[in-house]
């Protein structure tokens, strides 16, 4: 092979040239160890978010207000499990196992989107999550369709196709509440009040403070900065809130004619770091539940093994 005698610096140059040229990196390509690690961190964090994110919504499946809403919510939560699977599998092409990733989650070494550490208190929260949380995820994931790692980019194409339904079902359900009784309107407003700021936090720290951002941008793992993505989300969401007749809980929110964007207030970064570092309202509960679900599923994995053994024995007997 032509690459055989290249030294590390030359390999790295080929690698970076490829990225600069907008080509994808594929699993068998040479890549710097730090690129691999950085990707594993981001992708496993992304996959964990899909999976942990099922909990706040799953909380309402049995209490959905109608059979229609229940079927929709079930289908949505099922999609999120699928998203977790796509991304875990793509991450496994980097040489890490599913078990290692799940273990890191259980040990608190791997993070997930901190927004899922907030509780879903009322039915309106389900609508707000679809509209805002999936809405924010879409803004991010659309740019990740162009991420430099091939398997991740292709997984994102698949995910993005499925996300639009998630956001629309959420908005539709809020639309019903927002045009309903006084209590229903209040419920929708209350959900927006609680989910707005955590949604903005989903994009992470300011660019200047973001530990991994610069390198990730150079490697095109990330295609847009945290602040750019956050601004895009605010710009698209404000008119949607206005249409619902709801008020975004930010007195500083104002259209800036000169910038062509909305100005908005500062995120409570103390809260952000408090939740990220394990002290949000539901952090413990989320991991305890994930562990329990995993442990409770042990018998299924054992049954699959046992069935496989039985089939093999049968085939041997027949032969």
């Amino acid at each position: 092979m032509a690459d055989y005698r290249m030294n590390e610096a030359e390999l790295e140059k080929v690698f970076q040239d490829r990225i600069d040229d907008e080509q994808k990196i594929e699993p068998k390509d040479w890549m710097p160890d730090t690129y691999r690690k950085n990707l594993i961190r981001q992708m496993s964090q992304h996959a964990h978010s899909e999976v942990i994110g099922m909990q706040p919504e799953g909380n309402w499946i049995t209490r959905a207000p109608s059979l229609r809403r229940k079927m929709i919510l079930l289908a949505k939560v099922q999609d999120e499990a699928g998203h977790g699977l796509y991304i875990y599998s793509a991450a496994e092409t980097l040489g890490i196992s599913r078990e290692e990733m799940v273990q890191a989650l259980h040990d608190g070494k791997a993070k997930y989107a901190s927004i899922f550490n907030y509780p879903s208190l009322t039915w309106a929260d389900v609508g707000a999550i679809g509209w805002l949380v999936d809405g924010a995820a879409i803004v991010n994931q659309i740019t990740l369709q162009r991420t430099s790692y091939g398997p991740y980019a292709r997984a994102m194409v698949r995910v993005c196709k499925e996300e639009s339904f998630h956001q629309r079902q959420g908005y539709e359900s809020l639309l019903v509440l927002a045009s309903g009784s006084k209590e229903q309107q209040q419920m929708a407003q209350d959900a927006l009040n609680r989910w707005w700021w955590p949604s903005l936090m989903m994009f992470g720290p300011h660019d200047a403070e973001s530990a991994h951002s610069a390198q990730s941008m150079k490697w095109k793992i990330k295609r847009k900065s945290n602040d750019e993505l956050r601004q895009a989300f605010v710009d698209q969401t404000v008119p949607q809130a206005q249409y619902l007749g709801l008020t975004i809980p930010d007195p500083k929110l104002k259209w800036n004619e000169e910038r062509g964007h909305y100005d908005f207030g500062e995120i409570d970064w103390d809260e952000f770091y408090r939740v990220i570092n394990g002290n949000g309202l539901c952090n413990r509960q989320r991991i305890v539940h994930h562990r329990r679900a995993h442990d409770n599923g042990a018998w299924v994995r054992e049954a699959v093994e046992a069935y496989d053994e039985k089939q093999k024995a049968r085939k041997q007997q027949a032969a």
Binding site: R18, E26, F165, Q236, P239, Q240
Partner: protein, 96 residues
Amino acid sequence: MTTTSDFPLFEIFIRSNRGLDHKHVGSLHAKDYEQALEYARDCYTRRSEGVSIWVVKSSDIVASQEEDAVSFYDPMDDKPYRHASYYKLPEAVNNM
């Protein structure tokens, strides 16, 4: 006499460009994986059709049958709410 059809059959997948999925292009007989890879190169990429080739033993492929589609895919037909277009939103906010 040994004929090449005694050799196992391989399915060939080609990635035409970085970033794209490997796509099935056809099959061929070969003695082993290495040979299959070389034959695939000679047979399917003579005009630089690809940048990467996958070879998979045909016997390793498990496929669902189209005749079974009715029962196999049945649960999907009555779930229109899995599609974005199922949700009718007012024009002003329909771009999500």
